[in-house]
Every structure is written in structure tokens, then in C-alpha cells.
């Protein structure tokens, strides 16, 4: 798999603030890559360095094989961008906004099929300001697609959207992947990482805490699969045999933690084979657990670390 983005020891200072601190990661062609972290973690700074909108203080950043410092023009022609808090010309229509970007690039794409693809053709004559939040973001993605880029940067594409808008946005992003695009997105929604991303990097205070395939992140840092069971002494004895990581919880519940799903399922099978009647619940770890274990906190709905 070839590397679409290569970042090595990338650092960005704003005066005394170190916004990005010796960050190293790769993004592979055709994947959906997420940079996930709370507000102020350095996501936008990183993305905008890759978009050639900010200058790095030090380190290397290559996008599609071009250096962000020296080959700005070549990169800008080949990428698509939707900035954080995306806005277009309010009183221009959807179509006019998309056409503007096409004229800037000097390209003549088939706008009808592009707009249809994103479910925007029926609102093409509506002014941007009249659209719902979710539609506005789709217009943003559409504008980012006009030059048929190989790589798209979407900075917090679903922040501030209602669940419906967010889901529609995810569908569009999945479509991008099907179209063969590489998608680099930032988010503070763990759910977005799980549902959408192939790989993710967790960034906090300008530093990358972990980077891997999402499944692997959860397997490695999720803290194992929990099997919760309510039962008698037979159950307890079995659980003690199966795992060392074992504890009692309120209402007589017994929780055993297994390193992965296979182990947990084996345990569940054995529990069912007991004569004793029991109720079993399997709790798989998710990105929230990963984040909690790596960072020692949780990100709330607004993106703040708590």
C-alpha cells in the first residue's frame, strides 16, 4: 500500500505554545484516516500544514509525494479541502458556489452527476444560507471534489450536526472511499472513528498517543472484552478458572475481562454448558475505552476533554 501522506517529526509552535509536537504518522492510499482528539489537541494545525495553509516550524510533511513547504502549488491542485466550520458564499446558490471552485481550478467537471452523487442536485438553486447544517457540509464536500482530488482533508466534518445530518455525512464519506479517494478527517467523536475509519491516530496536546487500525487500537488499548454474569458458586468458580482479571460488582454480578473477543466467547460457551442458570452479558470495548486508558479522560459532546 502506498503512502499518500507522510509526516515525520512535524512540529508547530505558536510563540510559546507547542501546538504540534514531533508528530509522525502515515496515511495510506484509499483509506479513511482519522485524527482524533479533544479541542486544542492540534488537529487543525496538523491538517492545515498538510493543506499548505500553515507553515511547519520543523519536521517533514509530504502530501501525494510533494513537500508541503516547497511544492504548495502541486499539492493544492491535487487535494480537496473542507475547513473546520466550513462556510461558502451565503447568498450564492449551491450550484454557484460549486461552479466558483470549478472556475478557480479551471476545470469543467460534470456538475450534475457530482451534485446528484452527493444528493444535492435538487437543492442546487437554493442559497447556501438556507440549507440545513448537514446539507451545508455536503456542499463543502462537493466543493472539495470539484477538482477530482486523490486526497480529501475534512476537518471536523460532522461537528455540530444533528444525528441525522451526521449519518448522512458519514454515508457521503463512505461513498468517497468507494470512489477511490483517500480521506483524511479529524474528529472528536469516537463513534465516528469506529463507524467510519480504517485507521486512526489519537492526538492530545500536540502529541500522538497511539496510531493503528481502529480494531487494533481497540484490541490493544481497549482493556479487553468484559463478560458480566449473574449466578451462583459454580459460575464464580468457572470464571476464576478462565481469567485472572476477575471482580465482583454490585447485585452479585461477576465481571471477567478477556484479552479478546474469541477468549470471551469461549468463556460464554462454557458458562452456558454449566448446569446452573445464569444471565450473561458480553461488553466489547470501544474507542471511548481506548481513549480513557490512553489519555485518562473522555471527550464530551462539545469536544472538551473531561
Amino acid at each position: 500500500m502506498s503512502e499518500t501522506v507522510v509526516v515525520k517529526e512535524l512540529t508547530k509552535h505558536y510563540g510559546n505554545i507547542i501546538a504540534v509536537d514531533k508528530v509522525t504518522f502515515h496515511v495510506y492510499e484509499g483509506e479513511i484516516f482519522s485524527l482524533v482528539g479533544p479541542n486544542g489537541a492540534g488537529k487543525t494545525t496538523t491538517v492545515e500544514i498538510l493543506e499548505c495553509l500553515r507553515r511547519p516550524t520543523s519536521g517533514l510533511a509530504m502530501v501525494l509525494g510533494f513537500d508541503v513547504v516547497k511544492e504548495e502549488e502541486k499539492i493544492k491542485r491535487r487535494i480537496g479541502v473542507m475547513p473546520q466550520d466550513f462556510n461558502a458564499f451565503e447568498r450564492l446558490t449551491v450550484l454557484e458556489n460549486v461552479e466558483l471552485i470549478a472556475r478557480i481550478y479551471g476545470v469543467k467537471p460534470n456538475l450534475q452527476s457530482l451534485l446528484e452523487e452527493l444528493g444535492l442536485w435538487h437543492v442546487r438553486k437554493r442559497r447556501f444560507m438556507e440549507l440545513s447544517g448537514g446539507m451545508k457540509r455536503r456542499v463543502g464536500i462537493c466543493m472539495a471534489l470539484v477538482n477530482d482530488p486523490e486526497l480529501l482533508f475534512l476537518d471536523e466534518p460532522t461537528t455540530g450536526l444533528d444525528p441525522q445530518g451526521r449519518k448522512e455525512c458519514w454515508d457521503v464519506i463512505r461513498k468517497l472511499k468507494k470512489m477511490g479517494k483517500t480521506v483524511f478527517l479529524t474528529t472528536h467523536y469516537m463513534e465516528e472513528v469506529e463507524k467510519l475509519s480504517d485507521r486512526a491516530a489519537i492526538i492530545v496536546n500536540g502529541k500522538i498517543k497511539a496510531i493503528d487500525k481502529v480494531d487494533e487500537l481497540i484490541n490493544t488499548h481497549g482493556g479487553g472484552v468484559k463478560v458480566c454474569v449473574k449466578g451462583g458458586s459454580e459460575v464464580e468458580r468457572l470464571m476464576r478458572n478462565l481469567t485472572r482479571n476477575f471482580r465482583h460488582e454490585e447485585e452479585g454480578r461477576i465481571v471477567g475481562v478477556f484479552s479478546n473477543k474469541q477468549e470471551a466467547l469461549k468463556a460464554v460457551l462454557q458458562l452456558y454448558n454449566l448446569n446452573e442458570e445464569c444471565r450473561v452479558e458480553v461488553i466489547e470495548p470501544n474507542m471511548n475505552d481506548v481513549f480513557l486508558r490512553l489519555v485518562g479522560g473522555r471527550i464530551d459532546e462539545r469536544g472538551e476533554l473531561v
Binding site: 507553515r55 479541502v81 475547513p83 466550513f86 462556510n87 458564499f89 450564492l92 454557484e96
Partner: protein, 417 residues
């Protein structure tokens, strides 16, 4: 170029569709023109009220000379003359009528005609005797005895006649209020009429004469003054207030960032904005001229020079806007700063009233403001039809435009630090 046009048309469309933008850019200036043009438009040219009390009567009729003098005052067109009856006690009248505002009374004394004629004869005699004396002194050696004696007799006879003439006081008396701001003007006009009379009566030719020619073929009206002033002032506000807040807004809402992420160059963005402001300026000019013509019958002269000056002004002031909008991040603060610059400039530059009405130190300040040169230049071209006089305006505005264009390029950030 295509990029510039793309940006320009997007900006223009976005602006045209904004009701408040259009309101402040067009409706506000139009309203002001209508209001001010109407309020001050009534007096086509200034006429001063003047009361004349004539005591010079002969057989119950005013004398010919006093009549002629009043007619001469009238024919200057500067006065609205009311004659007061000679039986009236002026001081009492003024005291009785408090509404007798800014009294300006010219009193023609009794025997004005007789004294004046006698004095003019005396003056002519003086000229003649002076001439005789001059001839006697210069050419006596070429003359014989009889000629010299005849000369002497004539000289004596003339002087005797002169001393027999009754040359009583014939002074005109002008009563004028100390605080009357028009006093110097009125005195000036009366003096010149008196001078003309003196010359005519003595029979001298005018040695020095002033030939005065009207600069324009028709009388200037208030709206003539206001129209170029308003056009200039509102092109300025569109740049300094309008462009400042739109640029700042485009920066705040991320449009600038979105565009910076495309291959669009910073120069194209700036040019697109300037072009939009220039088109706005031309639209404003067209509307104001049209309105001035329909409502006030102001016919302006619009030529390439005028359009070029308008363009230069639009560039200069929109660059100011781009600089301000580029420096100040907060949209409210940016438009506040625009207002803080534009409003004092508008009022101080004399765009709304003749600069001569302002105290000297304010006039000095006005001449430091680019708007002063802008509206003066526009007036030179559009009303006085003398583009030559607008050369200074062109120069000042062009320098100003270049400096601020340069600053705009420096300050507009296409890339964050």
C-alpha cells in the same frame, strides 16, 4: 484573469443579494442626496437683503442719480432691496421691530445728487488745472508771454469756479450689524458699485479692469455641489466601511481559508475585491447622476477622466478596507474602525458643504484627506468640465491607491503563520 473574474462575480452576486449591503451602499446616499439637495437646493444663488433709505428728493421725487444708484445696486443681482420711506426713523424702527433681523441699511443723504455732481465737476476741474500746471511747468520755455498769461488766467478762472461749487457732504451711510457674517461681502459689493459710479462721473476710462466670465454656462445650484461630493463620499464609505466589514467577515466565516486552499492566488482575491468595489462605485455614480438629473436637473459631464478618477478612488478606498479588514480579526471591531475613519473624513473633507465654510484649521485638515482631493477632482471634471484642474486629485489618489494596494497585498494573509 479567469480566476479574478470568477471571484469578482461571486463577490458581486453575494453583495447584490444582500439587502442590508445594498441599502447602505445605495439607499443611504440616495436619501441623503434627496434630503440635502432639497433642503439647500431652494436658494439658487445667495441674495442679500438690503434696506435702502433715500433722502435725496427733488420736487417730491427721488433724484435721478439716487435712482440710478439704487438701480445699479439692484443690477448686481446680489441684493434683495427694500426701500424705506425717508420719513421713517430708522433707529426707532429697528428697536420697534426685533424681527428686523441683521439690519443692513444704506442711507442715501439729502442733496446726494447735487453734491455728487458738484464734486464730480470739482474733480474734473482739479484734473484740468492739474493738467494746465503740468503743461506750464513742462513746456513754458517753448511758449511766449501771451500764451503763458492765458494759461494762468484759465487756471485761476477754473479754480475760482471750483471754489464756488457747493460740495457738501454726499457720503453714503451703511448701517450694518457688527456680527453680520455677510458684512464684508456686502461692503465689497457696495464699494465696487460706488467706484464704478465715481469713475463714470469723473469720466475716466477704467485703467485697470477686471473681466469676469462665468465658469459655467449656467448658474450653479446646491445639488451641483452636493452631487460630486456625495458620489466621492459614498465611494469612500463603501470602501472604508463596506469592504472592511465584508473582508473581515469573509475571514471570520472561513471563506478566505477555503479559497486559500485552492490554487487561487492572493493577488486574484485582492483584484476580485477591488473590481467588485469599482463596479459598485460605477453603479453608485450612475444612480446618483440619474437621480440628480431627474430630481434636481443637475447635468453632469461624464467622460473618461471622470470614470478613471472614480476607478482610482474606488481602488484607493477599497484597499483601505482590505487593509483594515486584514488587520482587525473581529468583525464588529473592523466595521467600528471603518466607521471611525470614514465618518470624520466624510465631514471634515468638505464633501458635504463647501470647505470655505469651515474654520481655517479644519480646512488645513481637510486638505490632508484623500477624500478632499477626490470630491474636488470629481467636481472639477463633472461640474466645471475642467479635467485639467483635477490633475492634483489624480496624483494624490493614485499615490494613495498604490500605497494602500501595496499594504493590502502585504497584510492580506493567504497563509497563517
Amino acid at each position: 484573469m479567469n480566476q479574478i473574474l470568477a471571484i469578482f462575480s461571486a463577490l458581486l452576486k453575494n453583495w447584490v443579494r444582500s439587502k442590508s449591503g445594498v441599502f447602505f451602499s445605495f439607499l443611504f446616499p440616495v436619501m441623503l442626496l434627496l434630503i440635502f439637495g432639497t433642503v439647500f437646493g431652494g436658494t439658487e444663488s445667495v441674495r442679500y437683503r438690503l434696506y435702502v433709505q433715500n433722502f435725496d428728493f427733488e420736487n417730491g421725487e427721488p433724484t435721478d442719480l439716487s435712482r440710478a444708484f439704487i438701480n445699479a445696486l439692484n443690477s448686481t443681482g446680489a441684493f434683495e432691496i427694500t426701500e424705506l420711506s425717508p420719513t421713517l426713523n430708522v433707529t426707532a424702527y429697528v428697536e420697534e421691530n426685533p424681527s428686523f433681523s441683521s439690519y443692513r441699511i444704506l442711507i442715501i443723504p439729502k442733496d446726494f445728487q447735487r453734491s455728487t455732481i458738484n464734486r464730480s465737476i470739482a474733480a474734473k476741474i482739479s484734473v484740468a488745472t492739474g493738467l494746465l500746471g503740468y503743461v506750464a511747468e513742462r513746456y513754458s520755455k517753448d511758449m511766449n508771454e501771451t500764451m503763458i498769461n492765458e494759461l494762468k488766467t484759465g487756471w485761476i478762472a477754473l479754480n475760482q469756479w471750483k471754489s464756488s461749487l457747493e460740495t457738501g457732504k454726499n457720503n453714503l451711510l451703511l448701517l450694518i450689524d457688527e456680527g453680520d457674517t455677510a458684512a464684508p461681502v456686502i461692503k465689497g459689493i457696495i464699494y465696487s458699485v460706488v467706484n464704478a459710479f465715481n469713475n463714470r462721473l469723473i469720466g475716466t476710462e477704467e485703467v485697470v479692469s477686471v473681466e469676469s466670465k462665468s465658469i459655467v454656462e449656467r448658474k450653479l445650484k446646491a445639488a451641483d455641489y452636493y452631487l460630486p461630493g456625495y458620489i466621492a463620499a459614498f465611494i469612500m464609505t463603501n470602501g472604508v466601511i463596506g469592504a472592511t466589514s465584508t473582508i473581515s467577515e469573509y475571514r471570520r466565516n472561513g471563506i478566505v481559508k477555503r479559497l486559500a486552499a485552492t490554487p487561487l492566488s492572493k493577488a486574484s482575491w485582492i483584484m476580485g475585491n477591488i473590481l467588485q468595489q469599482a463596479v459598485l462605485a460605477f453603479m453608485l455614480t450612475a444612480i446618483m447622476i440619474g437621480l440628480g438629473w431627474i430630481v434636481f436637473h443637475v447635468r453632469v459631464h461624464l467622460d473618461v477622466c471622470a470614470l478613471l478618477l472614480i476607478f482610482t478612488g474606488a481602488v484607493a478606498f477599497s484597499c483601505v478596507g482590505m487593509v483594515l479588514g486584514g488587520i482587525i480579526r473581529d468583525v464588529e471591531a473592523a466595521s467600528g474602525a471603518g466607521n471611525a475613519i470614514a465618518f470624520p473624513m466624510m465631514f471634515l473633507s468638505g464633501a458635504f458643504w463647501p470647505i470655505e465654510m469651515m474654520p481655517a484649521y479644519l480646512q488645513a485638515i481637510a486638505k490632508l484627506l484623500p477624500l478632499y482631493y477626490f470630491h474636488e477632482g470629481l467636481r472639477d471634471i463633472m461640474i466645471h468640465k475642467s479635467p485639467g484642474s483635477a490633475a492634483q486629485a489624480f496624483l494624490v489618489l493614485a499615490v494613495f491607491a498604490i500605497v494602500f494596494l501595496f499594504l493590502a497585498i502585504k497584510i492580506t494573509k493567504w497563509k497563517e503563520l
